[in-house]
């Protein structure tokens, strides 16, 4: 059987298995074993267990549960509420100030937790009822939170970047830095769009006739400042070359748990178990997919499918920007159905040689890939954030939330175009702080 036919067969079977609703990790593992057995025979199976184990035997992977635990500790404390209140009390008198504080809180909370669903749930619980009670239209109130939540995987520290870094052997520190400016720009784009649309609909948001006292304005800051300080400290340690991502994240996780205990008095074993349980569930899920994706990657490589695909695309001699367009469409379509972690682990090793051969910067591409994943988070039919927001505001029809997210999808597409025209938006900060790699 030619590699082309084999490749088509693998693609079809993978699609069928994933769409059946089987857990991604076990589906990928089953496909890999089946094809190794089918094409290479029984003897080839002896490497399966070793490959499965080797996929996880890497100290860099330790950073994943550590960052997840940082997010879980902050996410299960009322830090999101305090962050939201702090921003609202400072910005409430500005026209559209509530939108700015919501999206700003999303961006900051994203930096703290690195998780889109957690960000959406934490800020949405306060933000959506508040916006609706102050008369903001439902689609704007829900859509902006859905979109703001996606910033969690772009603004560092981000699990998505860690996974991409591991899958392509790209510097995780460099990727984190590359996400900073696009993250801030995207937050700005979301804010501009929201301010424009509420202004266009004749909505002049002004605060009611009351003022917060200075005491109230400063009241929440001492509670959230330590968490921000920890995350900034982790980043500083990472870029100072003092410690590896795993070490920095490990200490950061321990500090966040201690802070949650001290500031929010989370002493009860039940609260500790919640942090540990959430960390275990998310980490085990991601690590299991990593092990299965390494097995899947081994199967693709041993059947020469990755190499054949990369060669086939190189032989097509298409313009590199047409190629980038095609890759973006491919990622967008994947993002509609498949969760980000699985897409990155499955496609990054396949796309990486293609990207390198076409002369694109892998760090820059990591940012493009992540924004594509963000779109998938708020785009039907999967759009995880839509369903989280729907659970917060059950009386708003899901279709109305979906329509509310469309302008933000367009903002993200605009950001991808801007990144293609000005790649420096992503590459300037890492090049400036860590030196260019050429």
């Amino acid at each position: 059987m030619s590699p082309g036919t084999q490749g088509t067969l693998v693609l079809l079977v993978t699609l069928v298995v994933l769409l059946s609703g089987a857990p991604v990790a076990f589906g990928l593992g089953a496909i890999s074993i089946a094809f190794v057995l089918f094409f290479q025979g029984f003897d080839a199976l002896h490497v399966v267990a070793e490959t499965f184990y080797a996929g996880l035997n890497d100290f860099t992977l330790v950073s994943i549960p550590m960052f997840v635990m940082m997010g879980a500790a902050i996410g299960s404390s009322p830090a999101g509420k305090d962050l939201y209140e702090a921003l609202d009390r400072w910005l409430y008198r500005l026209p559209g100030g509530l939108v700015i504080s919501n999206l700003g809180a999303c961006a900051l909370f994203a930096a703290l937790t690195g998780s889109s669903p957690a960000c959406c749930a934490a800020i949405g619980k306060m933000g959506i009822p508040e916006m609706r009670s102050r008369g903001y239209p439902d689609d704007i109130a829900t859509g902006s939170i859905c979109a703001g939540g996606t910033l969690g995987i772009l603004i560092p520290p981000s699990i998505t970047f860690i996974l991409y870094g591991i899958a392509t052997e790209t510097s995780i520190g460099r990727l984190f830095l590359a996400g900073v400016l696009p993250g801030i720009m995207l937050t700005g784009l979301f804010m501009l769009w929201t301010l424009f649309i509420i202004w266009k609909r004749g909505f002049r948001a002004h605060a009611p006739d009351f003022r917060y006292t200075w005491k109230q304005k400063f009241g929440s800051i001492p509670k959230v400042a330590p968490f921000l300080a920890i995350v900034i400290g982790v980043m500083y340690v990472l870029y100072g070359g003092v410690a590896t991502p795993s070490e920095a994240a490990g200490v950061g996780a321990a500090l966040c748990v201690v802070m949650a205990m001290v500031i929010y008095r989370m002493w009860r074993p039940r609260q500790w178990w919640k942090i540990l349980r959430d960390t275990t569930r998310e980490s085990v899920m991601i690590l299991m997919i990593i092990a299965a994706a390494v097995l899947f990657g081994y199967m693709l490589t041993s059947l020469y499918l990755t190499q054949t695909l990369a060669q086939g695309i190189a032989d097509m001699h298409v313009n590199r920007w047409v190629l980038m367009g095609m890759i973006n469409v491919f990622l967008l379509v994947c993002g509609f159905f498949i969760p980000p972690a699985a897409i990155i682990l499955m496609t990054a090793p396949i796309l990486y040689p293609i990207i390198k051969a076409a002369g694109f910067d892998p760090v820059w591409f990591g940012v493009i890939l992540t924004i594509n994943m963000e779109i998938g988070l708020i785009h039907p039919p999967v759009g995880l954030n839509i369903y989280i927001v729907s659970a917060i505001a059950p009386d708003v029809p899901v279709t109305r939330i979906m329509w509310g997210t469309i302008p933000y999808v367009l903002c993200m597409m605009l950001q991808i175009v801007l990144l293609c025209i000005f790649p420096e938006i992503a590459t300037w900060l890492p090049d400036h702080l860590m030196g260019a790699v050429h």
Partner: protein
Amino acid sequence: MHPGDPLRPRSIVARGNAIDRFVRRVRRISTLCGFVAAALIAAGVVVVCEMVFVRYVLNMNTIWQTDFVTYCLIAATFVGSPFVLMTRGHVNVDVLPHYAGPGARRWLAIFASALTIGFCVVIAVLTFAFWKEAWDNKWVSDTMWRARLWIPYAAMPIGLGLLTLQSVADLLALLTGREPPFGITKERTA
């Protein structure tokens, strides 16, 4: 993953039936696995902090810590897997199950469950053989610690064996109508 997923699956009604007893026992074991995995991750965090202290504050060499933390997380992944399966934490692509009718959804769930069991059985057997090889040949790690590899390798057959049990319990609960397919109890309103 469905956002509204219960972290604790609905408790099986306490009937004296053999299937009920089996499902209940497997779930207890899987919950215990969750505790063990959480403890392993917590141990990992503590050891990372100790390592940072020894390396950067005391300026001393670290020997066992890197390996120990990596093994802890590998063990947490395999041993924690049955707990994550029980609480529906292993992500899946749930587009078809959500939009399919009840009959088709049930068949999809049976297919997905059978596939999971098939994978678990095969990988459990393969990892057991791998563990046995490490045990028989007294393999040690090629790092400074020279750890006996059968210890971290043992997490694979143990975790994946228990994962097989949990997936069989899930399939039984599905086939006998004790659990709805994919845990979906109501139609999605769009």
